[in-house]
Symmetry: C2
Subunit: 254 residues, 2 copies
Amino acid sequence: MDPRFITYLEKTLKEVSIDCVIFGFHEGELKVLLLKWKGTEWWSLPGGRIYLEESADDAVVRILQERTGLKEIFLQQFYTFGGNDRYKNTPSQGLREKLEQLFGDDFYDEKYMKRNVSMGYMALADFEQAVTTPDWYTDECKWWEISAIPELLFDHNEMIERALKALRRQLSYQPIGYNLLPEKFTMPELQRLYETILGKQLDRRNFQKLMLSYDILEKLPEKRTGGAFKSPFLYRFDKEKYDKAMQDEILFSV
Amino acid sequence: MDPRFITYLEKTLKEVSIDCVIFGFHEGELKVLLLKWKGTEWWSLPGGRIYLEESADDAVVRILQERTGLKEIFLQQFYTFGGNDRYKNTPSQGLREKLEQLFGDDFYDEKYMKRNVSMGYMALADFEQAVTTPDWYTDECKWWEISAIPELLFDHNEMIERALKALRRQLSYQPIGYNLLPEKFTMPELQRLYETILGKQLDRRNFQKLMLSYDILEKLPEKRTGGAFKSPFLYRFDKEKYDKAMQDEILFSV
DNA sequence: ATTTCATTGTGTACAAAAAACACAAAGATT
DNA sequence: AATCTTTGTGTTTTTTGTACACAATGAAAT
Protein backbone atom coordinates (compact mmCIF):
# COMPACT_ATOMS: atom_id res chain seq x y z
CA MET A 1 0.00 0.00 0.00
CA ASP A 2 1.13 3.53 -0.72
CA PRO A 3 3.26 4.68 2.25
CA ARG A 4 1.66 8.12 2.14
CA PHE A 5 -1.68 6.48 2.68
CA ILE A 6 -0.34 4.44 5.58
CA THR A 7 0.97 7.63 7.18
CA TYR A 8 -2.47 9.18 6.72
CA LEU A 9 -4.12 6.21 8.36
CA GLU A 10 -1.71 6.36 11.26
CA LYS A 11 -2.25 10.03 11.94
CA THR A 12 -6.05 9.96 11.80
CA LEU A 13 -8.87 8.60 13.92
CA LYS A 14 -9.71 5.03 13.04
CA GLU A 15 -13.19 4.57 14.40
CA VAL A 16 -14.65 7.81 13.09
CA SER A 17 -14.80 9.07 9.55
CA ILE A 18 -16.52 11.81 7.62
CA ASP A 19 -18.74 11.60 4.57
CA CYS A 20 -19.89 14.66 2.66
CA VAL A 21 -23.00 15.19 0.61
CA ILE A 22 -21.96 18.14 -1.52
CA PHE A 23 -24.92 19.76 -3.21
CA GLY A 24 -24.58 21.93 -6.30
CA PHE A 25 -27.15 23.56 -8.54
CA HIS A 26 -26.81 23.85 -12.29
CA GLU A 27 -29.21 24.28 -15.18
CA GLY A 28 -32.20 23.97 -12.94
CA GLU A 29 -31.04 20.69 -11.44
CA LEU A 30 -29.85 19.81 -7.97
CA LYS A 31 -26.64 17.80 -8.13
CA VAL A 32 -24.45 15.81 -5.78
CA LEU A 33 -20.73 15.27 -6.13
CA LEU A 34 -19.70 11.62 -6.36
CA LEU A 35 -16.41 9.77 -6.75
CA LYS A 36 -15.68 6.71 -8.84
CA TRP A 37 -13.29 4.20 -7.28
CA LYS A 38 -10.17 3.45 -9.30
CA GLY A 39 -10.54 0.68 -11.83
CA THR A 40 -14.18 0.04 -10.91
CA GLU A 41 -17.64 1.31 -11.72
CA TRP A 42 -18.41 1.91 -8.07
CA TRP A 43 -19.40 5.32 -6.89
CA SER A 44 -19.40 6.77 -3.43
CA LEU A 45 -19.59 10.05 -1.54
CA PRO A 46 -16.40 11.99 -0.95
CA GLY A 47 -15.12 11.47 2.55
CA GLY A 48 -12.09 11.30 4.71
CA ARG A 49 -10.65 10.96 8.14
CA ILE A 50 -9.98 13.30 11.04
CA TYR A 51 -6.40 13.98 12.12
CA LEU A 52 -5.74 13.10 15.74
CA GLU A 53 -5.41 16.74 16.73
CA GLU A 54 -8.00 18.13 14.35
CA SER A 55 -11.63 18.95 15.05
CA ALA A 56 -14.26 17.24 12.92
CA ASP A 57 -15.41 20.58 11.55
CA ASP A 58 -11.89 21.46 10.45
CA ALA A 59 -11.53 18.07 8.83
CA VAL A 60 -14.62 18.64 6.71
CA VAL A 61 -13.36 22.01 5.55
CA ARG A 62 -10.09 20.35 4.55
CA ILE A 63 -11.81 17.48 2.76
CA LEU A 64 -14.13 19.81 0.89
CA GLN A 65 -11.33 22.02 -0.22
CA GLU A 66 -9.48 18.99 -1.54
CA ARG A 67 -12.52 17.88 -3.58
CA THR A 68 -13.91 21.20 -4.76
CA GLY A 69 -11.17 23.79 -4.29
CA LEU A 70 -13.73 25.92 -2.48
CA LYS A 71 -13.04 27.61 0.79
CA GLU A 72 -16.26 29.45 1.46
CA ILE A 73 -18.87 26.82 1.52
CA PHE A 74 -21.91 26.22 3.63
CA LEU A 75 -21.36 23.26 5.86
CA GLN A 76 -23.55 21.41 8.25
CA GLN A 77 -23.54 18.19 10.12
CA PHE A 78 -26.79 16.39 9.44
CA TYR A 79 -26.48 12.94 10.97
CA THR A 80 -23.97 10.51 12.36
CA PHE A 81 -24.20 6.98 11.04
CA GLY A 82 -23.49 4.59 13.87
CA GLY A 83 -24.89 1.31 12.56
CA ASN A 84 -22.90 -1.87 13.07
CA ASP A 85 -23.79 -3.13 9.61
CA ARG A 86 -22.84 -0.12 7.56
CA TYR A 87 -20.47 -2.06 5.35
CA LYS A 88 -22.36 -5.31 5.16
CA ASN A 89 -24.90 -4.28 2.59
CA THR A 90 -22.58 -3.12 -0.11
CA PRO A 91 -24.33 -3.17 -3.45
CA SER A 92 -21.36 -4.76 -5.16
CA GLN A 93 -19.93 -8.05 -4.05
CA GLY A 94 -16.23 -8.65 -3.89
CA LEU A 95 -15.45 -5.12 -2.77
CA ARG A 96 -12.76 -6.19 -0.36
CA GLU A 97 -11.00 -8.39 -2.89
CA LYS A 98 -11.09 -5.67 -5.51
CA LEU A 99 -9.67 -3.08 -3.14
CA GLU A 100 -6.90 -5.39 -1.95
CA GLN A 101 -6.07 -6.07 -5.56
CA LEU A 102 -5.96 -2.37 -6.34
CA PHE A 103 -4.22 -1.06 -3.28
CA GLY A 104 -2.40 -4.01 -1.79
CA ASP A 105 -3.14 -6.95 0.49
CA ASP A 106 -2.69 -4.85 3.59
CA PHE A 107 -5.53 -2.48 2.69
CA TYR A 108 -7.84 -4.01 5.24
CA ASP A 109 -5.25 -4.15 8.02
CA GLU A 110 -7.15 -4.26 11.29
CA LYS A 111 -4.78 -1.69 12.69
CA TYR A 112 -6.41 0.96 10.50
CA MET A 113 -9.73 -0.39 9.33
CA LYS A 114 -11.95 -0.69 12.35
CA ARG A 115 -15.66 -0.79 12.92
CA ASN A 116 -16.47 2.72 11.96
CA VAL A 117 -18.90 5.50 12.73
CA SER A 118 -19.34 8.16 10.07
CA MET A 119 -20.27 11.77 10.59
CA GLY A 120 -22.43 12.99 7.71
CA TYR A 121 -21.98 16.61 6.64
CA MET A 122 -23.87 18.34 3.93
CA ALA A 123 -22.28 21.11 1.94
CA LEU A 124 -23.72 23.65 -0.46
CA ALA A 125 -21.29 24.54 -3.19
CA ASP A 126 -21.31 27.02 -6.03
CA PHE A 127 -21.36 24.71 -9.02
CA GLU A 128 -19.68 27.17 -11.34
CA GLN A 129 -16.74 27.84 -9.09
CA ALA A 130 -16.05 24.32 -7.92
CA VAL A 131 -13.04 22.59 -9.44
CA THR A 132 -13.69 18.96 -8.74
CA THR A 133 -10.72 16.70 -8.08
CA PRO A 134 -10.66 12.95 -7.39
CA ASP A 135 -8.76 11.68 -4.37
CA TRP A 136 -6.26 8.96 -3.62
CA TYR A 137 -8.40 5.97 -4.41
CA THR A 138 -10.74 7.40 -7.01
CA ASP A 139 -10.19 8.38 -10.62
CA GLU A 140 -13.27 10.42 -11.38
CA CYS A 141 -15.18 13.13 -9.56
CA LYS A 142 -18.52 14.00 -11.10
CA TRP A 143 -21.72 15.89 -10.38
CA TRP A 144 -24.76 13.64 -10.53
CA GLU A 145 -28.28 14.84 -10.85
CA ILE A 146 -30.12 14.07 -7.64
CA SER A 147 -32.84 12.10 -9.37
CA ALA A 148 -30.36 9.89 -11.22
CA ILE A 149 -27.97 8.82 -8.48
CA PRO A 150 -26.75 5.26 -9.09
CA GLU A 151 -26.50 2.60 -6.44
CA LEU A 152 -23.62 3.65 -4.24
CA LEU A 153 -21.17 1.83 -2.03
CA PHE A 154 -21.91 1.22 1.65
CA ASP A 155 -24.78 3.24 3.12
CA HIS A 156 -24.18 6.24 0.92
CA ASN A 157 -27.58 6.23 -0.77
CA GLU A 158 -29.18 6.48 2.64
CA MET A 159 -26.81 9.32 3.48
CA ILE A 160 -27.94 11.34 0.48
CA GLU A 161 -31.57 10.75 1.35
CA ARG A 162 -31.04 11.95 4.87
CA ALA A 163 -29.02 14.93 3.72
CA LEU A 164 -31.74 15.92 1.30
CA LYS A 165 -34.32 15.65 4.00
CA ALA A 166 -32.19 17.82 6.26
CA LEU A 167 -31.74 20.31 3.44
CA ARG A 168 -35.48 20.52 2.91
CA ARG A 169 -36.11 21.05 6.56
CA GLN A 170 -33.35 23.64 6.65
CA LEU A 171 -35.21 25.53 3.97
CA SER A 172 -38.13 26.07 6.29
CA TYR A 173 -36.26 28.04 8.89
CA GLN A 174 -33.20 29.43 7.14
CA PRO A 175 -32.64 31.06 3.79
CA ILE A 176 -30.78 28.97 1.25
CA GLY A 177 -29.14 29.96 -1.94
CA TYR A 178 -26.10 32.01 -1.09
CA ASN A 179 -23.74 29.10 -1.53
CA LEU A 180 -25.65 27.38 -4.30
CA LEU A 181 -26.15 30.25 -6.72
CA PRO A 182 -23.67 32.52 -8.48
CA GLU A 183 -23.33 36.00 -7.05
CA LYS A 184 -25.99 37.45 -9.32
CA PHE A 185 -29.07 35.51 -10.21
CA THR A 186 -32.61 36.04 -11.37
CA MET A 187 -35.78 35.49 -9.44
CA PRO A 188 -36.82 32.55 -11.66
CA GLU A 189 -33.44 30.95 -11.01
CA LEU A 190 -33.89 31.28 -7.27
CA GLN A 191 -37.37 29.89 -7.59
CA ARG A 192 -36.14 26.93 -9.59
CA LEU A 193 -33.62 26.21 -6.82
CA TYR A 194 -36.37 26.18 -4.23
CA GLU A 195 -38.62 24.09 -6.43
CA THR A 196 -35.87 21.59 -7.04
CA ILE A 197 -35.01 21.19 -3.38
CA LEU A 198 -38.63 21.00 -2.30
CA GLY A 199 -39.64 18.85 -5.22
CA LYS A 200 -42.76 20.86 -5.97
CA GLN A 201 -43.93 23.76 -8.09
CA LEU A 202 -44.38 27.18 -6.58
CA ASP A 203 -46.43 30.13 -7.72
CA ARG A 204 -44.21 32.75 -9.37
CA ARG A 205 -45.90 35.78 -7.90
CA ASN A 206 -46.29 34.44 -4.40
CA PHE A 207 -42.72 33.21 -4.38
CA GLN A 208 -41.33 36.58 -5.36
CA LYS A 209 -43.51 38.37 -2.83
CA LEU A 210 -42.33 36.03 -0.08
CA MET A 211 -38.65 36.23 -0.96
CA LEU A 212 -38.70 40.00 -1.10
CA SER A 213 -40.55 40.16 2.20
CA TYR A 214 -37.59 38.51 3.93
CA ASP A 215 -35.56 41.57 3.00
CA ILE A 216 -32.39 39.65 2.18
CA LEU A 217 -32.31 40.36 -1.54
CA GLU A 218 -30.96 43.34 -3.40
CA LYS A 219 -32.50 44.09 -6.76
CA LEU A 220 -29.87 45.18 -9.26
CA PRO A 221 -30.50 47.65 -12.07
CA GLU A 222 -29.14 45.10 -14.56
CA LYS A 223 -30.98 42.41 -16.40
CA ARG A 224 -29.86 39.10 -17.73
CA THR A 225 -29.92 39.32 -21.52
CA GLY A 226 -29.24 36.50 -23.94
CA GLY A 227 -32.13 34.36 -22.85
CA ALA A 228 -34.53 33.93 -25.72
CA PHE A 229 -37.26 35.95 -23.99
CA LYS A 230 -38.01 38.83 -21.74
CA SER A 231 -34.89 39.68 -19.72
CA PRO A 232 -35.34 39.11 -16.03
CA PHE A 233 -33.85 41.39 -13.40
CA LEU A 234 -30.76 40.30 -11.52
CA TYR A 235 -30.65 40.06 -7.75
CA ARG A 236 -27.97 39.36 -5.24
CA PHE A 237 -28.09 38.50 -1.56
CA ASP A 238 -27.43 41.23 0.95
CA LYS A 239 -24.84 39.18 2.80
CA GLU A 240 -25.29 40.99 6.09
CA LYS A 241 -29.05 40.58 6.18
CA TYR A 242 -28.75 37.05 4.81
CA ASP A 243 -26.40 36.06 7.62
CA LYS A 244 -28.68 37.66 10.16
CA ALA A 245 -31.64 35.71 8.82
CA MET A 246 -29.46 32.58 9.03
CA GLN A 247 -28.71 33.24 12.66
CA ASP A 248 -32.20 34.26 13.65
CA GLU A 249 -33.73 31.24 11.98
CA ILE A 250 -36.67 33.26 10.77
CA LEU A 251 -39.47 31.01 9.70
CA PHE A 252 -39.35 30.53 5.95
CA SER A 253 -42.72 29.19 5.16
CA VAL A 254 -42.27 28.14 1.56
CA MET B 1 -8.82 -0.12 38.17
CA ASP B 2 -11.84 -2.37 38.45
CA PRO B 3 -11.27 -5.32 36.11
CA ARG B 4 -14.91 -5.21 35.01
CA PHE B 5 -14.35 -1.69 33.82
CA ILE B 6 -11.21 -2.70 31.95
CA THR B 7 -13.17 -5.41 30.20
CA TYR B 8 -15.81 -2.86 29.27
CA LEU B 9 -13.16 -0.54 27.86
CA GLU B 10 -11.64 -3.34 25.85
CA LYS B 11 -14.91 -4.43 24.29
CA THR B 12 -16.10 -0.97 23.29
CA LEU B 13 -15.16 1.66 20.74
CA LYS B 14 -12.50 3.98 22.06
CA GLU B 15 -12.77 7.01 19.84
CA VAL B 16 -16.55 7.33 19.94
CA SER B 17 -18.79 7.70 22.94
CA ILE B 18 -22.38 8.58 23.66
CA ASP B 19 -23.84 11.26 25.87
CA CYS B 20 -27.52 11.49 26.68
CA VAL B 21 -29.62 14.49 27.53
CA ILE B 22 -32.59 12.84 29.20
CA PHE B 23 -35.51 15.21 29.55
CA GLY B 24 -38.27 14.67 32.04
CA PHE B 25 -41.27 16.75 33.00
CA HIS B 26 -42.59 17.08 36.51
CA GLU B 27 -44.63 19.62 38.40
CA GLY B 28 -44.60 21.98 35.48
CA GLU B 29 -40.84 21.93 35.16
CA LEU B 30 -38.59 20.53 32.49
CA LYS B 31 -35.80 18.47 34.01
CA VAL B 32 -32.59 16.82 32.91
CA LEU B 33 -31.03 13.75 34.47
CA LEU B 34 -27.48 14.30 35.75
CA LEU B 35 -24.90 12.14 37.48
CA LYS B 36 -22.56 13.09 40.28
CA TRP B 37 -19.06 11.62 40.08
CA LYS B 38 -18.01 9.50 43.04
CA GLY B 39 -16.42 11.42 45.87
CA THR B 40 -16.72 14.76 44.08
CA GLU B 41 -19.22 17.53 43.55
CA TRP B 42 -18.87 17.24 39.78
CA TRP B 43 -21.90 16.58 37.67
CA SER B 44 -22.15 15.32 34.11
CA LEU B 45 -24.59 13.85 31.63
CA PRO B 46 -25.11 10.12 31.62
CA GLY B 47 -23.20 8.47 28.85
CA GLY B 48 -21.41 5.37 27.78
CA ARG B 49 -19.59 3.52 25.11
CA ILE B 50 -20.60 1.42 22.14
CA TYR B 51 -19.73 -2.27 22.07
CA LEU B 52 -17.65 -3.27 19.08
CA GLU B 53 -20.51 -5.18 17.51
CA GLU B 54 -23.31 -2.91 18.64
CA SER B 55 -24.99 -0.11 16.74
CA ALA B 56 -24.94 3.35 18.28
CA ASP B 57 -28.73 3.35 18.51
CA ASP B 58 -28.73 0.09 20.40
CA ALA B 59 -26.05 1.40 22.72
CA VAL B 60 -28.21 4.39 23.65
CA VAL B 61 -31.18 2.19 24.39
CA ARG B 62 -28.94 0.10 26.65
CA ILE B 63 -27.47 3.11 28.41
CA LEU B 64 -30.88 4.65 28.96
CA GLN B 65 -32.30 1.51 30.37
CA GLU B 66 -29.40 1.28 32.78
CA ARG B 67 -29.99 4.85 33.99
CA THR B 68 -33.78 5.04 33.99
CA GLY B 69 -35.06 1.49 33.81
CA LEU B 70 -37.24 2.58 30.91
CA LYS B 71 -37.53 0.65 27.70
CA GLU B 72 -40.00 2.67 25.72
CA ILE B 73 -38.49 6.05 25.44
CA PHE B 74 -38.27 8.61 22.70
CA LEU B 75 -34.73 8.81 21.45
CA GLN B 76 -33.07 11.03 18.94
CA GLN B 77 -29.59 11.89 17.90
CA PHE B 78 -29.23 15.65 17.94
CA TYR B 79 -25.57 16.42 17.31
CA THR B 80 -22.16 14.81 17.28
CA PHE B 81 -19.47 16.66 19.15
CA GLY B 82 -16.25 16.38 17.22
CA GLY B 83 -14.15 19.17 18.68
CA ASN B 84 -10.50 18.50 19.45
CA ASP B 85 -10.70 20.48 22.67
CA ARG B 86 -13.72 18.89 24.24
CA TYR B 87 -11.89 17.96 27.43
CA LYS B 88 -9.64 20.94 27.71
CA ASN B 89 -12.16 23.37 29.16
CA THR B 90 -13.26 21.35 32.12
CA PRO B 91 -14.79 23.59 34.74
CA SER B 92 -12.92 21.87 37.56
CA GLN B 93 -9.18 21.71 37.67
CA GLY B 94 -7.40 18.56 38.71
CA LEU B 95 -9.99 16.28 37.15
CA ARG B 96 -7.44 13.79 35.95
CA GLU B 97 -5.67 13.59 39.30
CA LYS B 98 -8.95 13.15 41.13
CA LEU B 99 -10.10 10.39 38.83
CA GLU B 100 -6.78 8.56 39.04
CA GLN B 101 -7.00 8.79 42.79
CA LEU B 102 -10.54 7.41 42.76
CA PHE B 103 -10.23 4.72 40.15
CA GLY B 104 -6.52 3.93 39.94
CA ASP B 105 -3.42 5.29 38.21
CA ASP B 106 -4.23 3.45 35.02
CA PHE B 107 -7.54 5.26 34.54
CA TYR B 108 -6.14 7.38 31.77
CA ASP B 109 -4.34 4.56 29.98
CA GLU B 110 -3.85 5.66 26.39
CA LYS B 111 -4.98 2.25 25.26
CA TYR B 112 -8.54 3.13 26.25
CA MET B 113 -8.73 6.87 26.61
CA LYS B 114 -8.27 8.37 23.19
CA ARG B 115 -9.21 11.61 21.56
CA ASN B 116 -12.88 11.18 21.49
CA VAL B 117 -15.94 12.14 19.48
CA SER B 118 -19.27 12.04 21.27
CA MET B 119 -22.65 11.35 19.77
CA GLY B 120 -25.31 13.41 21.53
CA TYR B 121 -28.72 11.81 21.93
CA MET B 122 -31.73 13.37 23.52
CA ALA B 123 -34.31 11.27 25.26
CA LEU B 124 -37.78 12.07 26.51
CA ALA B 125 -38.64 10.08 29.58
CA ASP B 126 -41.75 9.67 31.66
CA PHE B 127 -40.61 11.20 34.93
CA GLU B 128 -43.00 9.22 37.06
CA GLN B 129 -41.95 5.85 35.74
CA ALA B 130 -38.22 6.40 35.61
CA VAL B 131 -36.17 4.67 38.30
CA THR B 132 -32.90 6.53 38.23
CA THR B 133 -29.72 4.60 38.99
CA PRO B 134 -26.12 5.86 39.14
CA ASP B 135 -23.45 4.03 37.17
CA TRP B 136 -19.99 2.71 37.78
CA TYR B 137 -18.22 5.97 38.47
CA THR B 138 -21.04 8.03 39.93
CA ASP B 139 -22.85 7.85 43.23
CA GLU B 140 -25.87 9.99 42.58
CA CYS B 141 -28.37 10.29 39.76
CA LYS B 142 -30.70 13.25 40.00
CA TRP B 143 -33.19 15.24 37.99
CA TRP B 144 -32.21 18.89 37.69
CA GLU B 145 -34.51 21.65 36.71
CA ILE B 146 -33.42 22.94 33.34
CA SER B 147 -33.05 26.51 34.54
CA ALA B 148 -30.84 25.51 37.47
CA ILE B 149 -28.27 23.23 35.85
CA PRO B 150 -24.87 23.64 37.52
CA GLU B 151 -21.58 23.92 35.69
CA LEU B 152 -20.94 20.48 34.27
CA LEU B 153 -17.84 18.54 33.32
CA PHE B 154 -16.42 18.71 29.81
CA ASP B 155 -18.70 20.22 27.16
CA HIS B 156 -21.86 18.95 28.76
CA ASN B 157 -23.46 22.35 29.33
CA GLU B 158 -23.16 23.01 25.61
CA MET B 159 -24.68 19.62 24.96
CA ILE B 160 -27.77 20.45 26.99
CA GLU B 161 -28.13 23.78 25.23
CA ARG B 162 -27.97 22.11 21.84
CA ALA B 163 -30.36 19.38 22.89
CA LEU B 164 -32.86 21.92 24.12
CA LYS B 165 -32.61 23.82 20.88
CA ALA B 166 -33.17 20.59 18.96
CA LEU B 167 -36.13 19.78 21.19
CA ARG B 168 -37.67 23.18 20.53
CA ARG B 169 -37.22 22.82 16.82
CA GLN B 170 -38.64 19.32 17.00
CA LEU B 171 -41.75 20.78 18.55
CA SER B 172 -42.43 22.76 15.41
CA TYR B 173 -42.79 19.81 13.11
CA GLN B 174 -43.59 16.85 15.31
CA PRO B 175 -45.92 16.35 18.23
CA ILE B 176 -44.29 15.99 21.61
CA GLY B 177 -45.64 14.73 24.85
CA TYR B 178 -46.22 11.04 24.47
CA ASN B 179 -43.01 10.13 26.24
CA LEU B 180 -42.95 13.05 28.63
CA LEU B 181 -46.43 12.82 30.09
CA PRO B 182 -48.22 10.05 31.93
CA GLU B 183 -50.78 8.13 29.90
CA LYS B 184 -53.65 10.39 30.91
CA PHE B 185 -53.15 14.07 31.28
CA THR B 186 -55.13 17.29 31.23
CA MET B 187 -55.02 20.00 28.62
CA PRO B 188 -53.44 22.49 31.04
CA GLU B 189 -50.71 19.93 31.78
CA LEU B 190 -49.99 19.50 28.09
CA GLN B 191 -49.95 23.25 27.69
CA ARG B 192 -47.51 23.68 30.55
CA LEU B 193 -45.21 21.16 28.88
CA TYR B 194 -45.24 23.15 25.67
CA GLU B 195 -44.78 26.42 27.52
CA THR B 196 -41.85 25.03 29.45
CA ILE B 197 -40.08 23.71 26.39
CA LEU B 198 -40.72 26.82 24.38
CA GLY B 199 -40.03 29.14 27.27
CA LYS B 200 -43.06 31.30 26.63
CA GLN B 201 -46.69 31.64 27.62
CA LEU B 202 -49.43 30.44 25.31
CA ASP B 203 -53.07 31.36 25.11
CA ARG B 204 -55.21 28.69 26.72
CA ARG B 205 -58.02 28.73 24.19
CA ASN B 206 -55.85 28.91 21.13
CA PHE B 207 -53.60 26.17 22.41
CA GLN B 208 -56.49 23.82 22.98
CA LYS B 209 -57.98 24.62 19.61
CA LEU B 210 -54.66 23.93 17.90
CA MET B 211 -53.94 20.69 19.72
CA LEU B 212 -57.37 19.33 19.01
CA SER B 213 -57.07 20.31 15.35
CA TYR B 214 -54.11 17.94 14.96
CA ASP B 215 -56.49 15.11 15.75
CA ILE B 216 -54.03 13.14 17.86
CA LEU B 217 -55.81 13.50 21.19
CA GLU B 218 -58.63 11.50 22.62
CA LYS B 219 -60.86 13.23 25.14
CA LEU B 220 -61.79 10.92 27.96
CA PRO B 221 -65.07 11.04 29.85
CA GLU B 222 -63.14 11.27 33.13
CA LYS B 223 -61.89 14.32 34.92
CA ARG B 224 -58.98 14.82 37.22
CA THR B 225 -60.36 15.47 40.66
CA GLY B 226 -58.40 16.37 43.77
CA GLY B 227 -57.00 19.58 42.43
CA ALA B 228 -58.27 22.47 44.48
CA PHE B 229 -60.39 23.84 41.67
CA LYS B 230 -62.52 23.01 38.70
CA SER B 231 -61.71 19.51 37.51
CA PRO B 232 -60.18 19.43 34.06
CA PHE B 233 -60.94 16.73 31.53
CA LEU B 234 -58.41 14.00 30.92
CA TYR B 235 -56.97 13.30 27.50
CA ARG B 236 -54.71 10.68 26.11
CA PHE B 237 -52.81 10.41 22.85
CA ASP B 238 -54.26 8.29 20.09
CA LYS B 239 -51.03 6.40 19.59
CA GLU B 240 -51.77 5.46 16.01
CA LYS B 241 -52.55 8.99 14.92
CA TYR B 242 -49.72 10.34 17.06
CA ASP B 243 -47.21 8.07 15.36
CA LYS B 244 -48.56 9.02 11.98
CA ALA B 245 -48.16 12.71 12.78
CA MET B 246 -44.62 11.91 13.94
CA GLN B 247 -43.83 10.27 10.64
CA ASP B 248 -45.53 12.82 8.47
CA GLU B 249 -43.86 15.71 10.24
CA ILE B 250 -46.95 17.83 10.04
CA LEU B 251 -46.15 21.43 10.72
CA PHE B 252 -46.89 22.21 14.34
CA SER B 253 -47.01 25.94 14.42
CA VAL B 254 -47.06 26.63 18.13
C1' DA C 1 -74.90 25.48 53.93
C1' DT C 2 -72.82 29.40 51.94
C1' DT C 3 -69.17 31.99 50.31
C1' DT C 4 -64.72 32.38 48.35
C1' DC C 5 -61.38 31.71 44.95
C1' DA C 6 -58.21 29.83 41.59
C1' DT C 7 -58.80 27.32 37.73
C1' DT C 8 -61.15 25.37 33.76
C1' DG C 9 -64.33 25.38 29.59
C1' DT C 10 -65.85 27.58 25.70
C1' DG C 11 -66.78 30.94 21.01
C1' DT C 12 -66.41 35.01 18.28
C1' DA C 13 -64.44 38.94 16.06
C1' DC C 14 -60.36 40.84 13.99
C1' DA C 15 -55.79 40.74 11.78
C1' DA C 16 -52.34 38.62 9.20
C1' DA C 17 -50.69 35.42 6.03
C1' DA C 18 -51.10 32.32 2.29
C1' DA C 19 -53.18 30.93 -1.99
C1' DA C 20 -55.42 31.66 -6.25
C1' DC C 21 -55.52 34.02 -10.22
C1' DA C 22 -54.77 37.09 -15.40
C1' DC C 23 -52.97 40.28 -18.37
C1' DA C 24 -49.48 43.28 -20.32
C1' DA C 25 -44.62 43.77 -21.77
C1' DA C 26 -39.99 42.21 -23.14
C1' DG C 27 -36.96 40.51 -26.55
C1' DA C 28 -35.03 36.93 -29.35
C1' DT C 29 -36.54 34.25 -33.46
C1' DT C 30 -38.82 33.68 -37.77
C1' DA D 1 -43.85 42.83 -38.45
C1' DA D 2 -45.60 38.88 -36.31
C1' DT D 3 -44.78 35.13 -33.21
C1' DC D 4 -43.82 32.97 -29.03
C1' DT D 5 -42.11 31.98 -24.50
C1' DT D 6 -40.93 33.99 -20.45
C1' DT D 7 -41.08 37.75 -17.15
C1' DG D 8 -43.22 41.50 -14.19
C1' DT D 9 -46.78 42.89 -11.43
C1' DG D 10 -51.53 43.60 -8.04
C1' DT D 11 -56.02 42.24 -6.27
C1' DT D 12 -59.31 39.11 -4.35
C1' DT D 13 -60.42 35.13 -1.69
C1' DT D 14 -59.44 31.81 1.65
C1' DT D 15 -57.11 30.16 5.42
C1' DT D 16 -54.77 30.62 9.54
C1' DG D 17 -53.41 32.91 13.68
C1' DT D 18 -54.33 36.10 17.48
C1' DA D 19 -56.76 38.53 20.87
C1' DC D 20 -60.07 38.54 24.12
C1' DA D 21 -64.32 37.74 28.40
C1' DC D 22 -67.54 35.43 31.00
C1' DA D 23 -69.77 31.49 33.10
C1' DA D 24 -69.06 27.15 35.64
C1' DT D 25 -66.62 23.96 38.66
C1' DG D 26 -65.29 22.17 43.04
C1' DA D 27 -62.23 22.24 47.03
C1' DA D 28 -61.46 24.99 51.07
C1' DA D 29 -62.69 28.28 54.39
C1' DT D 30 -66.18 30.23 57.13
